[in-house]
């Protein structure tokens, strides 16, 4: 029972932690999950797109060597790049895979693709065409320096892409599709960043200025969760190219960081929003499918090293701390992918009990930094922190003022903290009192730390008193969530009493005279059970104290009957008792020899009958000799034999109806031949007589 209780406390604390939504940076669990989510079938992925996403994810997580698909994927990359009929999308993903795998590709092939792409950039009219062509050109530029991938008419291309933008910062996929999309905005930003980096001459500054406005407008449409996470979602949910919030947000993040990198412009985006985007990706946890996994990790990698502002994530290894074990309050600050933050200090600004929001119990103080483990810790618990639920408010202070422009710390971070401890139980006593004078009849000290087996007895004129004290490790009185006394009669009738407290002291007095009615006049043995429990109490317990023998008066005639006890759900819905089928045991049979002996014995009279017939000198002289009557006579005997055989068949396998049908025909036949035979015999004997 006590173990169950501990388990309950654990579950409760886990629930609280989940609600608090503390964001943890990417860690080992993501790496091991990635190995499961991205599993190549027979050594290769279904498409180059999947392969490129897997390779990119593994590269970011630093486990690229685990994915051994070079031998199986390179041939299809070479084939796609070498074919002149490959679509722009296939070319783009083939180049992306090639960037990571570095397959052996001819310079001439690159040159051929580059010239083909340049033509398609000028002919393109949809955003995706621009995206794939420009993206491919950029990849070629990265992979080889020999080929000229630069765009001459960069301004013109920039303008034709910008023509697809909407006033609210979103983009359209093509000029004849009026629906605007956030996902498309991300793609467009990435494409434009590509155009900027491929331009042979400087892009017109006014164009870049309007684009910056678009980005700010786009960020105004970002939506917010209660825990501070920001994300982008599509306005039109039923559009055919609809993307979920995760891919839309990651597309925007990719576009934004690419644009910031290529233009070296400073974008004035609020740090809280950038941090909120990071929180959105981290709050997802570990996605179950490969696409989401890639979107999450790739977007976080973009945020990790972007030029706008780099989010710093404050996380706590443990939010349930034990006073008794003297757990230290530890705080970690990392970037989103878990790498070390620049030199900074963490301040504990405030701490208050989650019940009362106003009174801070801790002075503002700075946490010490442990260089070795990269954690900030509070070296000593303040005297004012007792067991209970608290909200701690932390603030990250960057030491270098230059860093304040680069990093987004998000101001103050509120973290719910659970301080647990072992509660001391003192002065536990149980006593039976005489009602009228209040004199103590029997009194016993209790040790609630271990099982006790009390044996008390009382009648309806007496009282039962139970009292104990609960104090926290710091000596304050403690009031647990649950403090119950349960009396359970032999017949499973239960009575639960809540223990009241006055200051430290918990006490309950049961006056049996007033409870006789409630106890349904049931005399006999009652088991006593005491429950004291709280989420922050490490030694919550549910203790069997023993039993009390109650002697209550006989029930009057109109006394209420005890209610029928609820059937145990485990009994009702659990497995039923197994039904064993009892078959009638076969009757005792006699030994086979005996039966056979009697069979022979039954045949004896028949033998006797035959012998007797011989002795009597029986003959067949009366059997007709002329042909026709003899035939009838034989048929008559055959008929009788047939009927008897039919009976045997009936006994062995036929049913009554078949038998009766056959018997009908046989009977008619038999009657006919019988009549002929017997009348012939009769006429012969009549002739004999007359002669």
């Amino acid at each position: 029972m006590a173990r169950n209780f501990g388990f309950l406390v654990l579950i409760l604390s886990i629930i609280f932690v989940c609600e608090a939504a503390i964001f943890h940076p990417i860690s080992e669990s993501h790496r091991s999950a990635a190995l499961e989510v991205f599993t190549p079938l027979d050594g290769s992925f279904g498409s180059l797109e999947e392969a490129s996403e897997a390779l990119r994810t593994f590269e970011i997580l630093g486990i690229g060597n685990e994915l051994n698909i070079r031998d199986s994927t390179c041939p299809s990359v070479v084939e796609t790049l070498g074919s002149s009929s490959s679509s722009l999308k296939d070319l783009f993903y083939a180049l992306r895979v090639n960037k990571l795998l570095k397959c052996e590709i001819n310079e001439e092939i690159f040159a051929g693709i580059a010239s083909r792409l340049k033509v398609s950039v000028h002919e393109a009219n949809s955003l995706l065409d621009f995206y794939y062509s420009i993206g491919s050109l950029r990849l070629i530029k990265d992979q080889t320096s020999e080929v000229d991938a630069f765009l001459v008419d960069a301004d013109g291309i920039f303008k034709s892409i910008k023509a697809l933008s909407q006033s609210d910062g979103r983009w359209r996929y093509s000029s004849n599709n009026p629906a605007s999309s956030t996902y498309a905005a991300g793609l467009a930003l990435e494409t434009l960043a590509g155009v900027v980096s491929l331009a042979t001459s400087e892009i017109d500054q006014s164009l870049i200025g309007t684009l910056k406005n678009d980005i700010v407008k786009l960020f105004d449409s970002a939506e917010k969760y209660d825990d501070g996470a920001y994300y982008f979602d599509e306005k039109l949910v039923d559009a055919p190219e609809h993307q979920g919030p995760l891919s839309a947000t990651s597309s925007v993040v990719r576009g934004l960081t690419a644009f910031a990198t290529s233009t070296s412009e400073s974008l004035d985006l609020p740090g809280a929003k950038v941090l909120g985007l990071a929180k959105f990706f981290l709050g997802i946890g570990i996605p179950g499918n490969a696409k989401d996994f890639y979107n999450q990790i790739d977007a976080l990698a973009c945020l990790e090293s972007n030029r706008v502002s780099i989010p710093l994530i404050l996380s706590l290894p443990a939010t349930v701390l034990s006073l008794t074990r003297k757990d230290q309050l530890k705080v970690r600050v990392n970037t989103v992918l878990g790498s070390a933050a620049p030199s900074l200090s963490v301040k504990l600004k405030q701490a208050f009990s989650s019940g009362s929001k106003d009174a801070s119990i801790i002075e503002s103080q700075e946490l010490k930094f442990d260089q070795e483990n990269d954690v900030h810790f509070l070296d000593a618990w303040p005297k004012s922190v007792d067991v209970g639920n608290y909200v701690f408010v932390f603030e990250i202070v960057l030491q270098d003022s230059e860093h304040k422009k680069i990093y987004a710390t998000g101001g103050r971070t509120k973290v719910p903290i659970y301080v647990t401890g072992v509660i001391k139980v003192d002065n536990a006593e149980i006593a039976v009192l005489d009602s009228d004078i209040g004199s103590i009849e029997s009194q016993k000290k209790l040790d609630l730390a271990r099982e006790t087996a009390l044996s008390l007895s009382a009648n309806h004129l007496q009282k039962l008193r139970l009292s104990f004290q609960l104090t926290t490790p710091l000596g304050h009185p403690f009031k647990p969530h649950q403090a119950f006394l349960k009396l359970k009669h032999e017949t499973k009738v239960e009575h639960i009493f809540v223990l009241g407290n006055s200051g430290k002291q918990f006490e309950i007095t049961l006056d049996f005279l007033g409870l006789v009615e409630k106890f349904f006049y049931l005399s006999g043995r009652y088991d006593i059970q005491l429950t004291v429990g709280d989420a922050v109490m490490e030694n919550s317990y549910l203790r069997e104290l023993g039993h009390i023998e109650l002697d209550l008066p006989e029930p009057p005639e109109k006394a209420t009957r005890p209610p029928p006890q609820a059937v145990d759900p485990y009994l009702r819905y659990g497995p039923k008792a197994e039904i064993t089928h009892i078959f009638r045991s076969p009757e005792k049979r006699p030994p086979q020899e005996l039966s056979l002996a009697f069979l022979a014995l039954v045949l004896l009279p028949f033998l006797g009958f035959l012998v007797g017939l011989l002795r009597l000198g029986v003959n067949l002289k009366n059997f007709p000799t002329s042909t026709v009557p003899a035939t009838f006579a034989i048929l008559f005997h055959v008929g009788i034999g047939a009927v008897l055989s039919l009976y045997v068949l009936f006994w062995l396998k036929l049913d009554l109806f078949t038998t009766l049908k056959a018997l009908g025909f046989l009977g008619i036949f038999l009657m006919f031949v019988g009549h002929r035979t017997l009348s012939h015999l009769a006429s012969t004997s009549a002739k004999l007589k007359s002669a």
Binding site: P590, L594, L601, V618, L644, Y647, G667
Partner: protein
């Protein structure tokens, strides 16, 4: 004296019975033999039941009743065939035999149904 005279009387009685019976026509003797055969068969089955127990009771019943029924029918036949029986004087023995066969077939149909 008295005892030997009883024995003698008994012997004389049997003697006269045998001589009287030997005058019975052969066909009646055949029927008597048949009746004896049926009755003994029934008796053996009853003994078997007494030894072993009456477990397949319907089988036992059909076996015994088959024999008893046959015996009864044979006796009826004997009554009808007996020439000295004036009551059935007009009835030809062939007709009696036909009755006997028919009754036997019906009886055994029932017996077979009951045999199980």
């Amino acid at each position: 004296m008295g005892k030997s005279s009883t024995t003698k009387d008994a012997q004389a009685l049997f003697q006269s019975l045998r001589s009287a019976y030997s005058a019975t026509p052969t066909n009646l003797k055949i029927i008597d033999l048949y009746v004896m055969f049926a009755v003994f068969t029934a008796l053996i089955q009853v003994v078997y039941m007494a030894v072993v127990g009456s477990f397949p009771f319907n089988s036992f019943l059909s076996g015994v009743l088959s024999c008893v029924g046959t015996a009864v029918l044979a006796i009826c036949l004997r009554i009808q065939v007996n020439k000295e029986n004036k009551e059935f004087k007009d009835l030809p023995p062939e007709r009696a035999f036909a009755d006997f066969v028919l009754c036997n077939l019906v009886l055994h149909l029932v017996i077979m149904n009951f045999l199980g």
